[in-house]
């Protein structure tokens, strides 16, 4: 029974903790700006992003939460493009934490309401199995998202993969654009296929 209380509490707290770390991280970057105007603008944007996040969390508004999160991300990388040097490892750590926060939020939204209900032992075991799988996948994906670019950087610095030359960058960019376009078009192709089942979002009211 203790686990049934601890798990939802921990699941709810983890995304918030990750978000707090992200916000503190961005603030840390902002206060290290030399220019007074940039500092002021950075603080205002940081405050606005936090207001959006707080509003989104308090009133359960996903759109406000997303807006605050995107603003926070843009602020961090904007600062590094315009004013600060970009170190790969901290930037990667920030980006990975950012992505992990989003995935943790999805996991929490899925599992916390279910854990708060009165469950049979069988259902509880199955749900715990699902949560463990989700957490394991997230850990692996987070590790990959961090280690893959680090490994690529090592290869590039060692000269095995010359990613710093313009032609290589262009080829790589072309390949990535193709992948992304493919990913973007997949839902459209899938939608054109037969839809044998009703949508999940259809009105569940089953009045005769």
């Amino acid at each position: 029974m203790a686990a049934s209380r601890v798990t939802p509490a921990a699941l709810s707290a983890l995304p918030v903790a990750a978000l707090a770390v992200l916000a503190a991280w961005v603030l840390w970057e902002v206060i290290h700006l030399d220019s007074g105007r940039a500092l002021q603008a950075g603080v205002v944007l940081w405050g606005f992003a936090n207001v959006c996040l707080a509003f989104g969390l308090r009133y359960r508004s996903p759109s406000m939460r997303r807006a605050g999160l995107v603003l926070l991300g843009f602020l961090y990388f904007g600062l590094h493009v315009l004013f600060l040097p970009l170190d790969l490892i901290p930037a990667l750590a920030f980006l990975t934490l950012f992505l992990v926060h989003i995935e943790l939020r999805v996991l929490a939204d899925r599992f916390v309401p279910i854990y708060r209900r009165d469950l049979s032992t069988e259902a509880r075991v199955r749900i715990r199995g699902g949560l463990v799988r989700g957490a394991a996948r997230l850990t692996l994906a987070g590790a990959m998202a961090f280690l893959l670019p680090v490994f690529a950087e090592d290869l590039a610095v060692a000269g095995t993969l010359p990613v710093t030359t313009i032609p290589t960058a262009l080829i790589l960019a072309g390949g990535l654009v193709a992948v992304i376009v493919l990913l973007a078009l997949m839902p459209v192709w899938q939608r054109r296929r037969e839809r044998a089942y009703p949508s999940w979002n259809e009105d569940p009211r089953g009045k005769l």
């Binding site: 980006l95 259902a123 699902g130 949560l131 394991a136 654009v177 899938q190 009703p198 999940w200 569940p204």
Partner: protein, 422 residues
């Protein structure tokens, strides 16, 4: 099917790539790899369409408002293993979940089964469908989903609560030539002693009054008041303007409860009962006897929802053409319609006995309004207006002002006779 998060990750990778080209900094190309790593990892094991068979079992398919029904949903995975399967047994909002869960996210290996058990408590009468069971195979990283359906919907009929009117003296005043429980003003078979008369050939031996015969030296027979039955027509006002209160506690819902209680009580006394409902359509059940008629009336009452604006003139037309003229008309209405007094007077003029059961809209509304001096003054003014209206009606009909927070039997029991003797 890809999710918005998948598109978001693609967009983020594209932005990093554009930033790398715009700023000519190779670090951004490497940063683009992070969201792509998530996308690639999610694409390695994409969710497949769930092939799950489902069976839903209900502890009962007919129940009363406020009673519980246990639902057991058994699902068996007949397809490939599913890492994360979201299960949602769709429920109408009127059915409250009191125990267990109808929603779960589980890992379901191939060939394995899962049972979800939950208890529902309906808050409103009606005919509902539980289900269908919606399934969604999820990618653990929320990058793709596949939807499916398992168990088909199960019907559930929720009957309104019946008012207990066992002790209420409620019945028709005018009788018809069928045996029943209403004492008529004519001699005949019955239990109420009326007098004696001289024996005539054909009288039953058990009706001979032996004491009187011995004293007067002639044979006398007892005669009794004939007990017969009559007709009652329940007229339920379920128009939109009568639905004062919340979705579950409004004058129409209370009216339905009262109508069912009156029908049960009158049918139990061997009278005929008919029903007219003013709602989106003018719905009626012709008068008949017995338990079957109660179920017919119940079936009509289950579907009553506030709506429509049928005036009383249409009801009078249906009454005069399809229902017997000597029936007792029991009008169940909150009397929010200003034409109600005239309509009732017209019914009386047409020759009907009319009784009015009025669920008080003031009593219902007061529960939803916070107390305060202004509210109290407004309530007192409205109560005076209502009392005035009821006094007008009492000149032509029996009127019961019912505060629905109390059982209907209480105001009915306060009445000396029902209906008022002519």
């Amino acid at each position: 099917m890809r999710t918005p998060l998948s598109s978001g990750l693609s967009a983020a990778a594209l932005l990093f790539l554009l930033a790398a080209l715009a700023t000519r900094r190779w670090e951004f190309i490497l940063l683009a790899l992070a969201p792509l790593a998530f996308l690639a990892f999610g694409s390695l094991l994409p969710p497949e369409r769930p092939l799950v068979a489902g069976v839903r079992a209900l502890s009962r398919d007919r129940l009363q408002v406020g009673s519980d029904v246990d639902v057991t949903l058994t699902l068996k995975n007949e397809g490939p293993p599913i890492d994360l399967l979201e299960i949602l047994d769709a429920l109408p909002p009127e059915l409250a979940l009191v125990q267990g869960t109808n929603h779960a996210v589980v890992c379901l290996p191939s060939g394995e089964s899962l049972s979800l058990t939950y208890t529902l408590r309906p808050s409103l009468k009606g005919e509902y469908r539980i289900g269908p069971t919606r399934l969604r195979a999820l990618d653990p990283l929320a990058l793709g989903v596949e939807d499916g359906v398992a168990a088909e919907p199960s019907p559930l009929v929720v009957a309104p609560v019946m008012e207990d009117l066992r002790r209420a003296a409620l019945g028709p005043r005018r009788t018809r030539p069928w045996f029943g429980h209403v004492t008529s003003r004519q001699l005949g078979p019955g239990l109420e002693f009326w007098g004696i008369r001289e024996y005539v050939a054909g009288d039953e031996v058990r009706r001979i009054n032996w004491k009187a015969s011995a004293r007067l030296d002639r044979i006398f027979s007892n005669v009794y008041e004939g007990e017969r039955s009559g007709d009652v027509v329940i007229l339920l006002d379920a128009r939109r303007e009568s639905a004062v209160g919340s979705a579950t506690a409004n004058a129409v819902e209370y009216g339905v409860r009262a109508a069912l209680g009156v029908a049960e009580h009158v049918l139990a006394s061997k009278n005929r009962v008919g029903l007219i409902v003013q709602r989106d359509v003018l719905d009626w059940v012709p008068p008949a006897f017995g338990r079957k008629q109660l179920y017919r009336i119940l079936d009509h009452l289950v579907h009553v929802r506030a709506g429509g604006e049928w005036p009383y003139s249409f009801v009078s037309w249906i009454l005069s053409r399809y229902f017997p003229r000597d029936a007792l008309v029991v009008l169940i209405s909150p009397l929010t319609d200003r034409t109600a007094p005239d309509a009732i007077a017209n019914l009386v003029a047409l020759g009907y006995d009319v009784a009015v059961i009025s669920p008080s809209p003031l009593g219902i509304e007061r529960r939803f309004v916070p107390p305060g001096s202004a509210t109290d003054v407004a309530y007192r003014i409205l109560a005076l207006e209502r009392e005035n209206l009821l006094s007008q009606l009492r000149r032509v009909a029996q009127v019961v002002d019912w505060d629905p927070s109390t059982p209907l039997a209480l105001p009915l029991r306060r009445m000396k006779a029902w209906p008022r003797p002519a």
